[in-house]
Amino acid sequence: MSGFVRAAGAEWVKLRSVRSTVVTLSLFAFVALGLGWVVANGFSEGGPAADALLPIMFGLLTAQLVLVTFAVATVGSEFSTGTIRASLAAVPSRGRFFAAKMTAVGLTVAAAALVVEVAVYGLVRVVIGDAAAPLTEWWTIEALLGGWIHLTLLSVFTASIAMMLRSTVVTLSILLPVLFLSSQGLGNLDAIRPVVQYFPDQVGMVIMHMTVPGDPRFGRDYGPWEGIAILVLWTAAALVGGWLSMRRRDA
């Protein structure tokens, strides 16, 4: 077994052996399903089928904050508990440690997001009816696939930021306001939209079909797959930053 596989296996043991993993991932599922159910119930049957994407994505988009908290706390707790010293004594290659941690966080979030997304989709279909967001339509597949990729990449992005800042509290107090911008509607203000529309969470709204293409206020200058490409760039930049900061600094 290669050193990387051993290190990633160890990161998985770390994740599954603490209570907070189960708690936060359950909360993620609870929020996504709960909000999906509430919003779906406010929908009238017989409306446009595409509208059913809103209850699905609204729940997931809000619950992503829980997922971000999970990703950030997973990294931050290494520093707050001091286990980072044992981790780096056991895996002295900083790059290997970082890659292992990001892989474990990414795969765990990917699995959780997939399960929850499928569950939310099923729930919304039960509430609104079989006509809602049918899987025979490409835009349904696109939104579900894009949402899943978005949640996974956003978690890796924020976990990398946490590795640079070395603290759960500092990282969340910077990231949560930024990721709340979308729900507060700041992304729709004309003055800042040209810049803010490229922020990771705004990209997510496009990917999840929560914006209206071509709309002067809610439209964005790019489409869903360009949005994913932008998120990939954000994530890659954060990964490079996290790796550089791990490589240089004392434990």
């Binding site: 050193g3 044992a86 002295p92």
Partner: protein
């Protein structure tokens, strides 16, 4: 296996923690690592383990920098701060992730739990452990890879009298098996019983690198009365103590 520290220097913004330090830790004996508070013992240990980068000089284990070891736990076991644990992770799971990193089998976890008297609390969360139990867990973690080199930073802290005797005999036993044992402590009477050899530092600089017997003899009072390691240590380090208590409350 030997630990070689050569011209090791570590400067922080606040000052120099380790200052051109050179010494070798030989196998087959317990080497005591002594020095007043803030002398640079823990910093030296972090440098040996590759956790901090030296400003100058180098530290190697068997001729290789720690960071170049592919499965470091199988050659070097270390106890730094016993409190470095995730509060809601169990004792066994802590050892399990450590074992995974270095491809150490599940059976070995049971062995070190038995050897450190921690088998009975293997399912307990770290936050419920007493300081002494955390120290034992730290020793268990250090022994996990059956390493030829052991580096223990103040392992005696928090141990009950039975635990003190246990760790003394453990360290002596490991050295007798031909392993290299470096242990830091402020408990001079305990070091006099455990360490055959001493490396003493003050303000980051080497003050002595000699056998315990010679050290005591060299710094004994001139009248030859009641020479102890404690007295010898205070005589030698008197000039390099940074944090001296003084005055009255």
């Amino acid at each position: 296996m030997v630990i070689e520290v050569s011209n090791l220097t570590k400067r922080y913004r606040g000052g120099t923690a380790v200052d051109d330090l050179t010494f070798t830790v030989e196998p087959g004996r317990v080497t005591g690592f002594l020095g007043p508070n803030g002398a640079g013992k823990s910093t030296t240990i972090r440098l040996i383990l590759g956790l901090d980068r030296p400003t100058g000089g180098s530290a190697t284990v068997n001729g290789r920098p720690y960071r170049s070891l592919e499965r470091p736990l199988t050659s070097v076991g270390a106890l730094m701060d016993a409190g470095d644990l995730h509060p809601t992770r169990s004792v066994r799971e802590h050892l399990r992730w450590l074992a995974r990193t270095n491809g150490i089998g599940e059976r070995r976890i049971g062995e070190v739990l038995e050897a450190t008297g921690m088998a009975g609390v293997a399912r307990k969360h770290a936050k419920t452990l007493s300081l002494g139990m955390k120290q034992r867990l730290g020793v268990a973690a250090a022994l996990l890879g059956d390493p030829g080199v052991l580096i223990l930073d103040e392992p005696v802290n928090g141990l009950d009298p039975e635990g003190v005797v246990w760790i003394r005999n453990l360290m002596k036993g490991l050295a007798a098996e031909g392993r290299t044992v470096l242990v830091s402590s402020h408990l001079m009477s305990e070091m006099a019983l455990t360490a055959e050899h001493l490396v003493v530092i003050g303000r980051g600089r080497l003050l002595a690198d000699t056998s315990t017997k010679d050290f005591i003899a060299a710094h004994a009072p001139a009248d030859g009365s009641g020479a102890s390691l404690e007295e010898a240590f205070m005589r030698l380090t008197g000039a390099s103590v940074e944090f001296r208590s003084g005055g009255s409350l």
